[in-house]
């Protein structure tokens, strides 16, 4: 099922026509109502949008960054009258003040449409009973999914997070068919469910809509196996209004972007130049319909690529690949851009090794080198030196074909690499020592 079929299956030409019209609108709207944008649009000569003739003319407009949100905290980027604002969300900043997101009534309406599209694409139907195990509060995730699910017509249980036994009780007793949670909480709940000992047949769970933090393939598979469900991923952030920006369809071959409400671009992180279709770079997003807090060319710091080819599901909106990393995490080794998540995705798919690794970058005689330590876990390999050496060479070859970089793989014994509780620190860069 496609939630807004007429919009989600529009021919590309028509999508672009809508985008151009809305881009002109949002540029003028920002120019007229937000001092920061007024100044910037004046400086770059775009003014109220007179210079925008085609979509690519967006490149004349300067980027908006996380710093702009911080510098204009809390309401400096609000374009609508405060009397028309009906909701304020915020994301907890890891440092300093939170980032605010403000919504008019119309914004909320569009937001629930976008989330309903994502939910529908992820397999949710009006017959489903959805337990929302995101923490409710300032965070956009819980209420975003809540209203989107209701709009779709599903039954919503606002469970919030915490109290594991109660979560499991509701899952069992109330015939819950879908769960919304962060990947890590879903994994935790699924393990707790196994420990609780009730047979899977006591549950009606069939799908999961995960979000608000990156989900690796191995994590997704573990959650799917433990719960015996199908999981889909979605993308969004407070700066862009929360979840609903893009989401997996049944093909799970990239997340469909709500292109009538958001204009995505991929840029080269270093030069800021727009990149072509399929090229990997930083995602930049312009909101096309938001009134409370519109954003022009927001640098998400997420690395991904866009695919405009038709999808087997019938939707025509472009697909964004699962994020490959954050520009903050990007390593430049021998002039090649490398993301730790790229390496992780390669290692996860190689049997005989554990999903733990460490990266060591060193410099000798002005030459960088990357060493990757992985734990070999298949003891059958110990019988034969050639098999162990072959494993090492296979990993090196795979890394070289994907990263375009020669690396040195070192096999180590199981359980010898550090295990991280919170944010993993798998990169040791020794080049400046």
């Amino acid at each position: 099922m496609i939630f807004q079929k007429d919009i989600e299956t529009l021919p590309r030409k028509e999508i672009e026509a809508i985008q151009l019209e809305r881009l002109k609108w949002v540029v003028k709207y920002c120019y007229d109502n937000v001092p920061l944008y007024h100044q910037r649009l004046t400086d770059c000569g775009v003014l109220d949008g007179a210079k925008i003739k085609q979509l690519s003319d967006i490149e004349y407009i300067p980027f908006t960054t996380k710093d702009d949100f911080r510098d204009n905290y809390p309401f400096g980027l609000v374009a609508a009258d405060m009397k028309d604002i009906v909701r304020i969300h915020a994301s907890s900043g890891t440092t300093g003040k939170p980032t605010t997101g403000v919504y008019t009534k119309e914004d909320l309406d569009i937001w629930s449409d976008c989330v309903a599209r994502v939910a529908c694409a992820g397999g949710v139907t009006p017959d489903d009973i959805i337990q929302i195990s995101f923490g409710y509060g300032l965070f956009t995730g819980a209420l975003g999914l809540h209203y989107g699910m209701e709009k779709l017509g599903a039954t919503v249980i606002p469970a919030s997070s915490g109290n594991t036994q109660k979560q499991l009780m509701m899952l069992r007793d109330w015939g819950v068919t879908g769960i919304v949670a962060t990947p890590s909480y879903a994994l935790y709940l699924s393990e707790a469910m196994k420990e609780a000992g009730y047979p899977l047949s006591d549950y009606s769970l069939r799908l999961g809509i995960l979000g608000s933090e990156p989900c690796t393939v191995s994590m997704r598979e573990q959650i799917e196996n433990n719960f015996n469900i199908r999981v889909s991923d979605n993308y969004g952030m407070t700066e862009l209004g929360g979840p609903g920006v893009s989401g997996d369809c049944e093909a799970r071959d990239g997340m469909h972007f709500a292109e009538d409400h958001f204009l995505p671009e991929i840029i080269d992180t270093d030069t800021g130049k727009r990149l072509g279709e399929g090229e990997v770079g930083e995602l930049v997003v312009t909101t096309l319909t938001r009134k409370g807090m519109p954003v022009l060319r927001y640098r998400t710091k997420d690395i991904t690529k866009l695919d405009y080819q038709p999808c087997s599901c019938g939707r025509t909106h472009c697909r964004m690949a699962k994020t490959m990393g954050r520009t903050d995490d990007m390593l430049i080794i021998k002039g090649v851009n490398v993301f730790p998540t790229q390496i992780e995705n390669i290692l996860i798919n190689i049997p005989d090794i554990a999903p733990h690794y460490m990266l060591y970058i060193t410099r000798k005689n002005y030459r960088d080198s990357l060493e990757i330590k992985v734990e070999v876990i298949n003891e059958a390999l110990l019988d034969n030196y050639q098999m162990l050496d072959g494993l090492k060479k296979r990993i090196e070859a795979k890394l070289q074909s994907i990263l375009g970089l020669r690396t040195k793989v070192t096999l180590v014994a199981p359980k010898t690499l550090e295990r991280f509780q919170g944010k993993a620190k798998r990169i040791v860069d020794l080049r400046n020592q």
Binding site: E379, A380, Y385, L388, D389, K392, P414
Partner: protein, 143 residues
């Protein structure tokens, strides 16, 4: 008939060697045969010991990465050409030796050799037919 061999993953040669031999000594187990295959990066220690279960437990407790496989133990006359004869018998019967190494202990009459082949049973049968003495787990404990 085959005897059990310990294969231990080696990350750093000196460190692992000390850990392994220490753990085995503390468990009161003797090493009968030993070989090391390594490069700069990693390697494999292979050991034949007097009590495999005890040694495996001690190594697991020491967090060593160990596997147990079966190999063929052969007693060869301690005289020139005796080992070559064993190798030839196997080669003539299309049995490929992946690797071999010698026991530390020798008796007056015999030297003992560990052979790794694909099919232990076939190798044992052929060797026995040619009058070669095989070493059993029990023999080893007595050596």
């Amino acid at each position: 008939m085959a005897i059990k061999q310990l294969s231990i993953f080696v990350e750093n040669r000196e460190g692992t060697l000390v850990t392994v031999t220490d753990a085995i000594a503390k468990a009161g187990v003797d090493i009968r045969a030993m070989s090391v295959a390594d490069t700069n990066d990693f390697g494999i220690f292979r050991l034949i010991v007097t009590d495999i279960a005890k040694a495996k437990q001690a190594l697991d407790d020491a967090n060593a990465f160990v596997s147990v496989t079966e190999v063929v133990g052969v007693a060869v006359q301690d005289e020139p050409g005796a080992l070559a004869k064993v190798v030839k018998i196997l080669a003539d019967n299309n049995i490929n030796i992946e690797y071999m190494y010698a026991f530390i202990t020798v008796s007056k009459q015999f030297a003992y050799v560990v052979l790794r082949v694909e099919d232990n049973a076939a190798a044992e049968k052929i060797l026995t037919e040619h009058g070669i003495t095989l070493v059993t787990e029990e023999d080893m404990a007595k050596l």
